[in-house]
């Protein structure tokens, strides 16, 4: 029967941990957007710029801003 005391104490510790984790997640806006994170798996895939590589990617952008 003494096992019960240990297990329940453990359950309570886990409960406190779970509440803390949930509060942290809610506070960090983890629940604000439940959709797009799942999609980023597909979207962030592999595509690299066809003609430029990742390093000059950053530099090239501002020049593209203004259409001729």
């Amino acid at each position: 029967m003494s096992m019960l005391y240990v297990l329940i104490a453990l359950a309570l510790a886990l409960l406190v941990l779970a509440v803390w984790a949930l509060f942290w997640a809610i506070g960090n806006r983890q629940f604000d957007d439940l959709e797009s994170q799942g999609w980023s798996v597909v979207l962030d895939d592999d595509q690299k710029p066809p003609q430029s590589n990742a390093s000059n990617d950053e530099v090239s952008k501002p020049t593209k801003e203004a259409p001729p």
Partner: protein
């Protein structure tokens, strides 16, 4: 190349035949419709973000060709620190911008991926549903205008950061509610686990020590749940008591408090039952319901910032020597001079200083015809400048403008209408009084017979009659009804409005845009019998050719006809009509007075257009505002329900009476201001509940003032935010369909209430007689709740019988 119609790869619009813009994407050439789309698409592909095109669920909005100018205007924000967002401890700013044209998760990904790579932007968060984007940025590395420029570059339009405080407040409300819900949920799981042990112990035997320990742990978990998640109910009950209007929170708080106190009392006494599981379960289910309602309400409120969106955000203010400077429209002050371009909205109320034009006030006043304005004429903010650019002297500060006062009218009307969610109002006090009386009676009876059990029995009565199924009876039907109606293109923004529909005695309709589509259509062409040389096709061709030079709404009626070529010197005569030369023939098209060039006052002003040359009239075109589909069928249906029908419109007597005659409605009011309409509704309300159906900005306060309100498809955002029910399909048949659904929902609610009451009433004698075992009560409570929930799901199978396909409209709404 010129085989089939070419579609722009970016925005899906057709590519003009003379355009030759394309982009190479994954080895294939894709066509672009304009420089704007080309710039956006090449930015996206060059940045390595072309996955956007592969995975997007909707095509993008057509890129704004003036994006560079629009982005430049944002540089004025760089000097204004109060618009930089909230400052955090390390000097970073947290800026919230509402961004237009975010349509699906791919858009959100695009914005996030592109902007997070920019120097000085630390983190980006995008909410697809509301369009709110949150940027964490460093003021020493980048500027607000830089963020705006990037967004414009991707083809999106950011709006001025005006609603940050409101949205932050809503966000806090939302997260607080979610925290309360999660604490209650986690606590419930724990306490239920211990409760299983206790109930099993009742059935199969348990040691006193183990029972005491389990009860003690239950108390330990229950207490924080009660104090944290249950606090709102106590606060609500206290507020209700203090204001003398006890609401649904009072019985809830009473039940929670009594059950908890009784359980604690029993626990410390060491005899009797504990009901900590009931307490946390009750708190959890109530929090769940409250949270769902909050989310629904907030989604509705986010449209509330639509008020600012009615007015242009930027204004072209004229400085010294007529130099144009672009400033936020909220900066305009009375006396400023402003230039307003063609087809732009006026940023403030004012008086014309230069130019002549026509304005469209249909959304503001319900007037369906464009109104001519010349120097000295007063214009209202939010109306649209139709013909040419004009200068304006601002006559009132933006916060005092007509639109803003409409907004205030709306807020006050909304505040007057209270919405007590949950059990039907009459049932709550009745039920509570009865339960309290029975509990008191039981206590008094047992005091005389077995004083030691008196308190236990009285509390058993209170807990056994815990109105779990009863409190679920209505909300579950309501949410399942909202869901099934949403699939039919009917959105309930205030769920209890569904049941209010059953009480209505009178229905008031707006005309322009509600009963009619707000677009003139050609109903009849009459050719002058004395001029048989003209054929129907000829006159239509001539009229179409002339009207193609007009921006007037009437011109739309002729758009479907092939215009005759060869017209020269087409002149637009300020609202009266058009003149042109065809061969050596002078032609005039317009109101009868103008076309025939007479001053004859017996001439009737109507919606007809006359075509004439110098020998007299040739043809008469009878125009009419097209009725919305389903309008006639709906009126018939409503009449069989013996409802008092009337039309209340801001449009002219002539137009309203015509519409009323067509729909066989005897009672109509024309030239009504929003205040008049509210007055009219109040008058009707003295006789019974009133339903208002409308669409315009001017209808918003009226919609809020009516007991129940419906905004039709295509209504202004402000009207939508004021309405209880929003139709996402064009047909008016949805009005009667929601009434049918309401009747069915009412039937299910009655079944549920009957069952729940029967359960609670039959369990009462058992509790009073002291026979009730806790596990029986637990089983009974769960079973009765389950039955209530299952019964509510029948709502879907009942209402799907008479569906018409509106799913695409619903999907479009859900994405916007």
């Amino acid at each position: 190349m010129a085989t089939a119609e070419r579609i722009c790869y970016h925005c899906g619009e057709s590519v003009p035949a003379d355009a030759d813009l394309r982009i190479e994407l994954q080895g294939q050439f894709q066509f672009m419709c304009c420089q704007g789309c080309l710039a956006v698409a090449s930015l996206i592909t060059d940045a390595g973000l072309s996955n956007y095109y592969r995975h997007r669920q909707q095509v993008a909005a057509k890129a704004n060709e003036h994006a560079v100018d629009a982005a430049a205007a944002w540089q004025t924000i760089d000097q204004r620190q109060e618009l930089w967002g909230v400052e955090s401890a390390n000097g970073d700013r947290d800026l919230l911008l509402q961004v237009s044209d975010i349509r699906c998760v791919a858009c959100a990904w695009l914005i996030r991926s592109h902007l997070e790579k920019q120097p000085g932007i630390i983190a980006v968060q995008v909410d697809v549903n509301s369009g709110f984007c949150r940027f964490q940025w460093a003021p020493d590395t980048t500027r607000v205008s830089e963020i705006a420029k990037r967004l414009f570059g991707l083809g999106y339009t950011p709006h001025l950061p005006l609603a940050q405080a409101e949205e932050d407040g809503r966000h806090k409300e939302r997260t607080d509610s979610l925290k309360r819900l999660s604490v209650a949920g986690l606590g419930m799981m724990q306490v239920m686990m211990y409760a299983v042990g206790l109930y099993a112990g009742d059935a199969f035997g348990i040691s006193a020590a183990a029972r005491g320990f389990l009860s003690w742990v239950s108390l330990l978990v229950c207490l924080p749940v009660l104090l944290y998640s249950g606090r709102v109910f106590f606060q609500g009950a206290w507020r209700g008591l203090r204001s003398g209007k006890p609401g649904m929170d009072l019985p809830v708080a009473l039940a929670i408090a009594l059950a908890f106190l009784a359980s604690s009392y029993h626990f410390f006494l060491g005899v009797g039952e504990v009901w900590f599981d009931s307490v946390v379960m009750f708190i959890f289910f109530l929090s769940l319901g409250r949270h769902a309602e909050l989310i629904l309400r907030q989604r509705n409120l986010q449209a509330g910032s639509a008020l600012a969106r009615l007015l242009p955000e930027w204004a072209n203010r004229l400085a010294d020597q007529d130099r144009v400077e672009v400033v936020p429209a909220s900066d305009l002050r009375s006396g400023d001079r402003v230039r307003v371009m063609t087809s732009a909205a006026f940023p403030a109320d004012g008086v014309l200083l230069r130019g002549q034009t026509e304005v469209d006030e249909s959304l503001l006043t319900g007037e369906s015809l464009a109104i001519g304005k010349s120097v000295g004429g007063a214009v209202i903010a939010g109306s649209i400048n139709l013909q040419q650019s004009v200068d304006l002297r601002v006559s009132s500060n933006p916060e005092d403008s007509t639109v803003s006062s409409l907004g205030r009218l709306l807020l006050s009307a909304q505040a007057r209408r209270n919405d007590d969610a949950g059990l039907p109002g009459w049932l709550v006090p009745w039920f509570i009084v009865v339960v309290l009386c029975i509990a008191m009676a039981a206590w008094w009876y047992w005091l005389g017979h077995d004083a030691s059990r008196a308190f236990a029995v009285a509390l058993a009565v209170l807990v056994a009659s815990c109105p779990c199924a009863l409190s679920l009876a209505l909300p579950v039907v309501r949410s399942s009804a909202s869901l099934s109606l949403m699939q039919q293109g009917i959105l309930l923004t205030r769920p209890s409005a569904l049941f209010d529909l059953l009480k209505i005695k009178a229905v008031v309709f707006d005309k322009t845009g509600t009963l009619t589509l707000g677009q003139p259509v050609l109903v009849k062409v009459e050719i002058n019998a004395e001029r048989p040389e003209f054929k129907r096709d000829e006159v239509l061709g001539l009229a179409a050719a002339m009207e193609s030079h007009s921006r007037h709404a009437v011109a739309q009626a002729f758009r479907e006809f092939v215009p005759t070529s060869g017209l020269v010197e087409v002149v637009n005569h300020d609202g009266a009509g058009l003149s042109a030369q065809f061969g050596n023939q002078p032609l005039r098209l317009g109101k009868q007075k103008f076309a025939l060039d007479t001053d004859d006052h017996s001439v009737l002003e109507d919606h007809s257009l006359w075509l004439a040359d110098d020998k007299g009239w040739i043809a008469r075109f009878e125009l009419n505002d097209a009725l919305r589909p389903g309008a006639e069928a709906m009126m018939k249906q409503l009449r069989t329900n013996r409802l008092e029908l009337s039309i209340c419109s801001g449009d002219s007597e002539m137009a309203v009476s015509q519409c009323a005659r067509k729909l066989a409605i005897d009672s109509y009011q024309s030239r009504q201001t929003p205040e008049d309409k509210i007055e009219y509704i109040k008058e009707l309300q003295s006789k019974g509940t009133v339903l208002m159906v409308g669409d315009g900005i001017n209808d918003a306060p009226v919609l809020a003032a009516a007991d129940v309100s419906i905004a039709v498809h295509g209504a202004s955002e402000l009207a939508n935010s004021a309405a209880d029910i929003i139709l996402t399909g064009t047909s008016l048949a949805s009005v009667t369909r929601s009434m049918t659904a309401a009747r069915k929902a009412r039937k299910l609610v009655n079944q549920n209430l009957t069952w729940a009451l029967l359960y609670n009433l039959s369990i009462l004698p058992l509790a009073v007689s002291g026979l009730l075992q806790p596990w029986m009560a637990a089983l009974g409570m769960s079973a009765s709740s389950l039955l209530v929930v299952l019964n509510a799901t029948r709502m879907r199978s009942i209402t799907t019988a008479d569906i018409e396909p509106t799913s695409s409209a619903t999907a479009a709404w859900a994405q916007s």
